[in-house]
Symmetry: D2
Subunit: 140 residues, 4 copies
């Protein structure tokens, strides 16, 4: 997916605040599902969440207000009680802005860890994939 | 209540972003209740929310990273389906940073407007008050 | 412009938090300029900001996670030291989610109010317009 | 430092959104400096920033609206072009809510990596320390 850096996402260093990236990764997961005909909204409506257990982000180059960023996202693991995603954030000119990964555990409405329901496991399992190859010219 | 301007709340103009004030006003409402022996958390746990219907903020002077701000908050109206709060935000040296008001409607868990339950109406009604007098030396 | 409600923008009431709307209005101003061949990024790079002096938002109907919202935005006033914008936020099915307005003052890098430079005044003045007509079927 | 979970920091899962933790860690770094007689504000005013290069957060237990959280923070490494911090977030009843770490590089106003100026290196170096021992009874 692509997104614009919002003014509200900048900080007084004149760059996108490092906290915004967590929100962008989350938005990328939602779009990743939509592109595969799945809906995180429906998953939530069914009483299931994919609670975040770990986030790691490596900041490579700054992102600036109004930059159009591309986020490549891939689900790298899926088990009944665990999922993992990887991300690469690319800025204007193809520079790698950041990369990172998240891990998740399926939870019910009360926040308790549960097994991923079969209907979702079947819908997701075919989409496990390695991270897309780096775009050529990317030196990071 | 007092609060520190967080780094994440600044923007590339080098000041606290105007969106942060909405969050600060909300935090001030929660503390306003706590100071009166009431709990917004319990109100929410009982299935009630005080949904925001209108926000107005007038920005007077900038607030900067790490500024210690004081928020004075008062509930100025309370009816069965309506409440109103006023706010004044004061920065270092007593300068008025912003003022504003919000209006609210009691809603149930499904977001439907409801009458404020008697137990909450009785707990709150004695606290309706005009805005505190301006601190002396406040020129705004 | 259109935007998706992000998961991070929801709150425990299960709706988009009222503070997110301030950020959306700001994003809409930036796109409003871009659609007219202007760049808020360049305006900022030239040392000028359009500091927010007042925000008013009226919340009509809740917005939900993953809703695709449309923001109509119009610059309703432009003077050498003042600008005003109006906004209408429309949700799925054409429901009016919110409307509001903001006022602004041109400031320099130190945050001091300045006259809008002629180059920007000339670029903007032709775009002063009333709010777009309501879409038909909008009952709010 | 201690902080309250703000309503705006919750999401529709009914817990503090995982993105808020990044902001809390940052606030903890600022308070860590203040407790040692140092000022991140002055560091910024001198033209220096401690840009974030990496963030890792492990989420253990949910944090809820209005929870009073304690953040323990320690600077675990300091070199001329690198600093590292560790964090532990503790909730009501002493439960470990999250832990994590960040790494940083000193940068100048243009965002270029620089050597940490001697005045700051000398002020900080005595404060390198391991993470505080876990509170007893912490099972995480």
């Amino acid at each position: 997916m692509n997104l614009r850096v919002r003014f509200a996402e900048t900080d007084q260093m004149g760059v996108a605040h490092h906290g915004a990236y967590v929100v962008w990764f989350e938005a990328a997961r939602v779009e990743w599902m939509r592109e595969r005909g799945l809906s995180y909204r429906e998953l939530e409506a069914s009483g299931l969440s994919m609670a975040v257990k770990e986030v790691t982000i490596r900041y490579r180059k700054a992102a600036y207000f109004d930059d159009l960023l591309r986020i490549d996202c891939a689900m790298t693991e899926l088990r009944s009680r665990h999922a993992a995603f990887r991300y690469r954030l690319t800025g204007p000119g193809g520079r790698t802005v950041a990369d990172g990964h998240t891990t998740h555990v399926p939870t019910d409405r009360s926040g308790r860890a549960v097994r991923l329901p079969a209907v979702w496991a079947e819908a997701l399992v075919g989409h496990v994939e390695p991270m897309p190859d780096r775009p050529s010219g990317d030196a990071a």
